[in-house]
Each structure stands twice: as C-alpha cells, then as structure tokens.
Amino acid sequence: MKKIEIIFETIYLNRLLDLFSEKGILGYTLIRDIEGKGSTGMKSSDQIGDIFRSNYIFTICEEEKLDSIIEGIRDFIKRYGGKCMVTDVLLITPTVTDQNLKNE
C-alpha cells in the first residue's frame, strides 16, 4: 500500500476532502494546526483567524489508485500550495496473514 501525506493550508480543507471523495478515497487521518516553514514563509498555529495555518493529512491507498490521486493532488498543490509525499507502507489488517509481513 502507499501512504500519501499532504501538508496544506487549513482553509482549503473542505476542498481537499472533496478531492478525496472524488478520487474514491474513503479513509484519511488529519492533524490540525501544525506549523511549518517552506517557500511561502512561516505557518504557525497561534494565528488569530485561519490564514497562515496548516494541516497535515495522510491516506493509505492501493497502488493502483495512486496515479489518479496524485494527479488530482498535483493540481491542488499548483493552485493552493502545499507539499505532498508518497511512501510505501504495509497495512496491518486483522485478517492479513503473517506471510505479508515477511514479504514487505
């Protein structure tokens, strides 16, 4: 499975979630009010109001879906800024066999 991590401005959360559901992403994990620095300056968590604040989200998805999702995220980042990373993960499910662990 692939883990897609995205850092984005808080204010665009709903648009990102819309993108997710468009692309058939049904699960995600979100951490609000993180901080960070990048090409667009500092984002900090102690703002008054929602400008210059960041969130972090990740979703685990099947490799087959990856290309289509990444394409959507690339457009998102082009328009709204942010960063996106992809890594390989092994998802542990209650039913998976021990075999999977070895083969990672």
Binding site: I11, D46, Q47, I48, D50, R79
Partner: protein, 329 residues
Amino acid sequence: MTTNLDLIIQNILNPPILFFFLGMLAVFVKSDLSIPQPLSKFFSLFLLIAIGLHGGYELSQSGLTPYILKALSLAVLMAILVPIYSYFILKIKLDVYNAAAVSATYGSISAVTFITGVTYLQSLGVEYGGYMVAAMTLMESPAIIVGLVFAVYFARDKNKKGESEKTNWGEILREAFLNPSVYLLMGALTIGIVTGKNGWESMSPLFGDLFKGILAFFLLDMGLVAAKRMHELKKLGPFLIIFAILMPIVNASVGIALAYFFELTKGDALLLALLSGSASYIAVPAAMRLSVPEANPSIYLPLSLAVTFPFNISLGIPLYYFIINNIWS
C-alpha cells in the same frame, strides 16, 4: 478644553491598549510569551457574543426608529463605497487579484477596533447608540461580495486560458454572510433582542462586567500576532504602507462627512468613522484566501493587522474624535 494630545493620552492610558503594545514589545525583545490558539478563539468568541448580546439588548429597548434606520443605511452605504474606490486606488500598484483582496479587507470592519472606540466614548462620557452594533454587523459582508465581483470581472481574460474554473457563488455567499464572525454576531444580536432586559441581566455578569478585562487579554494576543507579521511589511514597499495609514483616515473622513450631513450624534459619528476606517483581519482574509487564492495573503493580512489596526486603536480613534468634536460644536 481637551486638546488633541489629551485625547490621545486619554485613549492610550487605557489598559487594553497598553496590553496591545505589551504584546508587540514581547516580540521585539524576543520574550517567549505566547498565547495558545484555543485562548485566542475563546477571547474572540467571547467578544463577538458580548458585543452582539449587548447591542441586541439596547436595540430591544430603543426599537427601530427612523434615526436608527438612517444610521444603518449610512453604514451599508460606506461598506459598499469603500471597497469600490479602494480598488481603483490599489490598481495603481497591484494586480487585479491583490487589489480586489486588499479592497475587500478595507471595505469590511474590525470588531475590536469598534469596541475599543466604544470604551473610549465611555471613558469620555459621550453617548452612542447600541444599534451601531447592528450597523457593524451589516458592514462585514458587502465588501467581500464587492471584492469578489471585481476579481471575477476583471480577471475574466486570464481565466479563459486556464481550465474553466467556475466561481462557486454559493460557497462565496455562505462565506460572506455565514462566516463564524458574522454568524455569531447576528445570532447574539438576535438573542439579545429576543430576550431583552431579563436576558441581558442574566448574561451581563459574564458578557458585560468582564468585557474590558477580556478585551485587554485579547489585545495582548493581537499585539503578539501583529508584531510577528511586521517583518513582512518590509517587502511590501512604501505605497502599501502609506495606503494602510492614509486610507483609514480617508475612509473615516468620508464616514464623518456623511454622519455630519445626515446629522448623526457625535458618538455615532465616531463609530461610523471607525467602522469605515477599520479593516478586517479575520473574516475577510479567510474569505479571500478561499475565493481568490491568486492574491497574496502576505499583502492583505499584514497591512490590516500590523499597520491599520495598531494605527486606528492608538492614534486613529482620538484623531477621528478630534475632527468630529471640532466640526459638531
């Protein structure tokens, strides 16, 4: 006779204002003082509810007189006028998107500037109307719409080359009229009107008596946040910095002229001037970031928060009152 300097000192020797500068100073001397975000949120929710409830209570006592309708109409007029002429001034130096965003910011209002003006009037013993809270509420949203219409209209050509991004007017209208600030202010105002004297009496130990203390706390926080944004001003150049100081004076003066012409009281005139001269740093920046992502928030937020806001609460308020005091008498 109070001189201009007396008026300034009277305003500045006010704990809330001093706490604002204490917050700024903390950043300049690199003290690690910080206020966690949930507290900022608490203070701003508190202030909005308190302003709304109290204004509603006063409206419930006064009713809707012709004078009040006049004041409300002037407020709406200013909220539409200011962003229009600001846009064309800003276009001298900025592109369509940034000009639209900055003009929306200055067309809308700052509730904390307003209530700092209210406490100033109280300290001078000058009367003002509770209905000005309704005026403030009405002034929050129009500039968002005006700014967006400009952005959409004048950026048509650019948009044609890109993918056809349709403007989502439903979302924008919701953002303009139902953003948390406007919603809570309207809601509290309504509850204040509906529950009247009894309602206010049960709420005033929290939302009345503690008001100035919480305002001081919130201004300490605003001082910290404003000072942290100041370094961004260097990049903006003199045109915008001057805009951020002159524009409030111009807008306030237009407000004062209208107030004089339509015979508002001195207190109401000051509040109209302040509403006209103040700029939004929460609701409008959020709406602009959402609907005009092409505009640079490092322009419109620091101008409003780190220049216009400090100017208005320290020098603007006594200046506008000085002008009013001389014209009315």
